[in-house]
Amino acid sequence: MELSDKHQEYWRKNLVVTAILMAIWFIATFVEAWFARDLNSINFLGFPLGFYMSAQGSLVIYVVIIGFYAWYMNKLDNEYGVQEEDEK
């Protein structure tokens, strides 16, 4: 079938949010790990920051990313009329 413009736009928005969240994920993971030694000179809640990010901070960011994605996409489904029927 031919997709309507609205459908195209839904998918584009999905790609945009996916890309933004992946960028945050990349920074919280690989950029953080690359500079962990430098980050360690910063004190955070009594922790060296590089250590705390790898041990706890990045994990919190991952949970928030997934929570945000679920909330945003479920909202987007409704806006673009591609949502599933309500639960019985």
Binding site: M1, Y62, V63, I66, A70, G81, E87
Partner: protein
Amino acid sequence: MSQAAFSQKGFNQQLKKYYALYTGGFLAFIILLAIAEQMGLPRKYIGYTFLIATIGLYAMIGVMSRTVEVAEYYVAGRRVPAFFNGMATGADWMSAASFIGMAGTLYLAGFDGLAFVMGWTGGYVLVALFLAPYLRKFGQFTIPDFLGARYGGNIARSIGVFAAILCSFVYVVAQIYGVGLITSRFTGLEFGVGVFVGLGGILVCSFLGGMRAVTWTQVAQYIILIIAYLTPVIWLGVKHTGIPVPQVAYGPVLAKVGELEKKLTADPKEQEVRKIFKDRADAANAALKDPAKAYADNKAKLEQNVNNLKAANAPADQVAAAEKALAGYAQDVDAAKAQWNKDKGGAARAAAPRPHAEPYAGKDEAARDSARLNFIGIVFCMMFGTAALPHILMRYYTTPSVREARRSVFWSLFFIFLLYFTAPCLAVLAKFEVYTNLVGSQFAALPAWAAAWQTVDATLLSITDVNKDGIVQLAEIVIGGDLIVLMTPEIAGLPYVVSGLVAAGGLAAALSTADGLLLTIANALSHDVYYKMIDPSATTSRRVTVSKILLLVVALIAAYVTSLKPGNILFLVGAAFSLAASAFFPALVLGVFWKRANKIGAITGMLAGLGVCFYYMSTTYPFLRDLFGITRPIAEYMWFGLNPISAGMFGLPIGMATIIVVSLLTPAPSKQVQDFVEHVRYPVLKGSTYSTQAT
């Protein structure tokens, strides 16, 4: 239960009520046992009670959830609410290695161990963004199903089946090993027997009810394992920080550990012990250059000594001591070599304690950079492996809708996060206890827990007075990583009931993961091979029966392989992740996000990914090198100095590039396939006649 009368909301409410009651009941059970302990119930019976009660409970849920319906058996009827699917995924995901081994790895490796913590949580971001909602919309039974539908025909499906079985089997052996270990500790049974007793525990959960039974026992197992993990840490955290959330408050303890490390590095007694280890290692290295000569020399020296003493008419006790030394010396060259190799390994103990919070410690800049690259390699492979392991992806077929699948990934990571977020904190608290209570204590008066564990298993904890000063030095202690979690309750001075609880939690973690994996293998064989390729006209009851029989056969084979004790479980687990990442991730993700990806591209890409990954492992991992008779030095095969566990760092990009290049060189997929891709991209696509949902 008829479909018409079924109400998702009512079902959800009911589940919440049942599991709340269950959690309350479990807490009451612990309190009753604690009271019984105070009244004098022997420790052995507390251990037995935990073992029998928890396995009995899983068996009960397993029997109650028995089923012969296909959709129930393969995907739990697709009505598992997000919250509960999250818990089940958590239990499915967290294996014995996470529960027992993780904190120990962090204790031993410090910062560098955090690669696993980051990798095993961050991978869920990829699951959420790239896979779970689309697989749920696709809505069939297995991961090879998706490959078969998207890339048409049985070749892509077969490669998927092969890769799914390869990585799940490698992984399940590690789980059954963990089950056997805990069962044999719990009950005093022999390891081999423990494996088969534990196997019984695994099978009662999955045999009768497939995914449905596994899901509901996994929820129950998650509740037990998380209570078991958090209780001792929170207790210890309150003791040291005064705050019941030690995960944010252990900073001061970490700082104190850092100060103690400096003190221990400079301590003269510690240096003395480290020097002894270094001298031994040096002597062993020298001897190993020409073992036969060194053996003869040493032996001659001892004989000479006896003769000299005798000739000089030395006192009888001196002669006797010299004769004893001669008699006690290695019987032949091989025995001497074994001892030298052991001494050589002791060189690690000659090193000063590494600062816990320091990333990528190394002797020079090149070593530090290499450590950093390997850290990133492990994070990369664990993340993409997480997003490609079939037993995890399969769980997102079980939710009622795409929307619930998205929420479900959130709950999955949340429940997994609770444990991983705590492990680094547990490692630091345990280290502080060891540095303050154990180091510096008298050998004559070791803390009770240290003495007790030392007698259980010398590989887990051994403390020897190397410099004979009667005081414990850090360098004199060897702690096995697996001990950290198990001994924490005792370090914290908690009643034995908590130790029993922790063991029950470890068992729950191992059982639940083993169940998920066995089911994945049996389903790949019964659904993808038997039903889709061999006999597409098989009746539904026949399909379920075949699946049950295969489950049993696979379980027995896995238990048999486990009882042979194949070494290096940790490497095998890591290999499973690298292989899964290389084989599945590119084909699955491009299958959804790039319409142009075609059959030939996917097939060559999956093979290239698997092939490169396997080639790198077999040329750089000692066990595989021996197997294939590769003799040229490892260094010649290493790329960028990456360890074999991170082979996926090459396999995945090459696999992805292959799919893209080959797809572009060959014709675009048919209109029907492109419709299929659109179909999985939208939760509901009005006007589309396409349907892939299987019931």
